[in-house]
């Protein structure tokens, strides 16, 4: 039986010492996350695991879905560690598919539900995936099956024993690289299990929590909430996304949710559209997790006013090192401009380019170490060597630590733009733009979002050979890149400023 349910009752899965000694290293046995999920389901089959607009899914039903899908996946995989692509909107079937891949010994590769076919094909080839489970038609050079059909709780074969161990690879997550080329972050079962342990320890997640998750599960943040659920045994209120922010708040209030996970842009949209109604949740909303981007101080203070009893936890992290630091706004009210302090079981430091530690207050590159730090970049050993050394990960973020141990970000070492929590390479958009018949060349740069919602957005400078309207360029890009990558600001220029070697001088734009 899993250590997580040793208490023998569905009251609190996380041992007390993990929850109360969050500032000190905690040695806890962890298992691949599918183990506590299934053990919890076997012990408490009627407990709710997921709620959607279609109804509630119990842990028992979810476990049948996982074991059934795992049996099907197992028949397709030839070796342990083979990659399986998963593409679909938030749904119980996607949740089941994720854990089924793990149970069958595969590596889950989650794709955005609205990924372009070109990107999906590239990932299928780069990951050398064996199988894709998709909710929509994607033209891929590998076996493709319908995700929902494979993940029903039917009477078919159930996987008898799990095919994964802690050191096996679990997830391959593609993120945007600095050159526009995607890079695959390979995480082991130990990485994701320890990440969940650290997060649950800080948030104090309880098995009777009902957490509202409007984040895409294909994104690191949303996926992290799913991993935490597997370990803590609570229930997720799965929403299709943030397209209607007012609806998200209404559902949260109607369900009397005790938890909420959202990016800063999501809070901004909710506050703008519903004014102070978020405060209506103050009686039941126990915790919030915020992440993937910075939040303006004004918004932080507004949240604190509206939700005086809620633990408002904002994480700092990367796909390569999930939730390396946390700040809780109320407890750390004197350090609101910081990213907080290292998460439980995580070390952080500030170093120079040679790897020497800097003293407090001196600015350098932030590095992190912990069991959640990725194993490697997929098929990129040189890149892995550049960022990983002695267990320490170079984050590429610049910052400093104050005398009380709080870390502050001061900048990034790359051109990547953070749009509402999603990293975008300007080069990818430039390449797409330059295919337009009217465009000679282009250069994109991150600027503060004029509407103040998504933090940063792209501004495109274009050199044209013939007249073209902004809407025509937007429509061109809609066929080639995801919606959030499309520039919000356009400027016609005579030429693009470049260095002697031809590199775009973005700081001049």
């Amino acid at each position: 039986m899993s250590a997580w349910i040793a208490l023998g009752r569905c009251v609190q899965l996380l041992p007390e010492k993990v929850r109360t000694e969050a500032d000190r290293p905690v040695e806890m046995p962890v298992e691949p996350l599918v183990e506590p999920l299934l053990a919890h389901a076997d012990a408490f089959p009627d407990c709710p695991s997921l709620r959607t607009s279609a109804g509630m899914i119990s842990y028992g039903t979810l476990a049948r879905m996982v074991r059934g899908a795992a049996a099907k996946i197992r028949r397709v995989l030839i070796h342990r560690g083979e990659r399986v692509l998963l593409c679909g909107p938030n749904s119980p079937e996607l949740v089941a598919a994720y854990f089924a891949v793990h149970a069958a010994g595969g590596v889950a590769v989650l794709l955005d539900a609205d990924i372009t076919s070109e990107s999906a094909r590239w990932i299928a080839e780069d990951s050398e995936a064996r199988l894709a489970l998709c909710e929509r038609e994607l033209d891929l050079p590998i076996s493709v099956a319908n995700l929902a059909a494979w993940c029903r709780a039917d009477e078919g074969e159930q996987l008898a024993s799990l095919q994964c161990s802690l050191e096996d690879p679990a997830d391959l997550i593609y993120t945007t690289g600095t050159t526009g080329r995607k890079k695959g972050v390979l995480l082991s079962h130990a990485n994701v299990a320890y990440a969940a342990l650290n997060i649950n320890a800080f948030l104090d997640t309880r098995c009777d929590d009902l957490e509202c998750v409007p984040l895409p599960l294909s994104h690191s943040f949303g996926l992290g909430r799913l991993r935490c659920m597997a370990q803590a045994g609570h229930c997720l209120l799965l929403l299709p996304g943030m397209r209607n922010p007012a609806l998200v708040l209404k559902l949260l209030l109607n369900a009397r949710a005790t938890g909420l996970a959202l990016v800063p842009a999501g809070f901004d949209l909710i506050l703008r559209m519903t004014k102070d109604h978020l405060g209506d949740a103050r009686e039941h909303l126990r915790y919030i997790e915020i992440g993937s981007a910075a939040m303006p101080l004004e918004t932080k203070r507004r949240l604190m006013e509206l939700l005086p009893q809620t633990r408002i936890c904002h994480h700092y992290g990367l796909t390569e090192a999930s939730r390396a630091a946390f700040i809780e706004y109320h407890a750390d009210r004197d350090h609101l401009a910081s990213i907080g302090r290292p998460s439980p079981n995580v070390e952080m430091a500030v170093r120079d380019g040679e790897g020497h530690d800097f003293p407090d207050s001196q600015e350098g590159e932030i590095v992190v170490r912990g069991r959640m730090v990725m194993r490697e970049y997929w098929k990129q050993p040189e890149l892995t060597r550049q960022v990983l050394s002695g267990g320490w990960l170079r984050t590429g973020d610049r910052g400093y630590r104050d005398a009380e141990g709080y870390y502050y970000l001061t900048g990034r070492q790359s051109d990547l733009v953070n749009i509402g929590g999603r990293k975008v390479s300007p080069e990818e958009v430039e390449q797409a733009l330059c295919g337009h018949p009217a465009v000679v060349e282009s250069a994109c740069v991150g600027i503060p979002d004029p509407q103040g919602i998504v933090g940063e957005c792209l501004k495109a400078c274009v050199v044209l050979r013939s007249e073209v309207r902004d809407e025509q360029l937007v429509e061109w890009l809609r066929q080639r890149v995801e919606e959030y990558k499309i520039p919000r600001v356009w400027q016609r220029v005579e030429k693009i400023a470049k260095t002697a070697s031809g590199k775009i001088q973005r700081h001049l734009m």
Partner: protein
């Protein structure tokens, strides 16, 4: 009013003039109707028609037809 609503949608979602707007269209049918597009839609509707939408009304803006019905009701008030 149909034309006015089409104009608002095109502006909020950055659509070309030639993009046809129909009442049956919902989130998936209109490019750019994401969370930011939704907020732009609310702002454009309030500005264009000189109205103020409350939370429940904003929740109900889930198709062109629904938008038209809400605007018609607000305009009649």
């Amino acid at each position: 009013m149909q034309d006015n609503i089409a104009t608002v949608f095109r502006k909020a979602m950055r659509l070309e003039e030639s993009f046809a707007i129909a009442d049956a269209m919902s989130f998936d049918d209109i490019p750019g109707w994401d969370s930011v597009g939704h907020m732009n839609l609310v702002m454009e509707l309030e500005s264009h028609f000189g109205i103020s939408l409350d939370m429940d009304e904003i929740v109900g803006l889930d198709s062109v037809g629904a938008v038209r019905a809400i605007i018609a009701r607000k305009s009649a008030d």
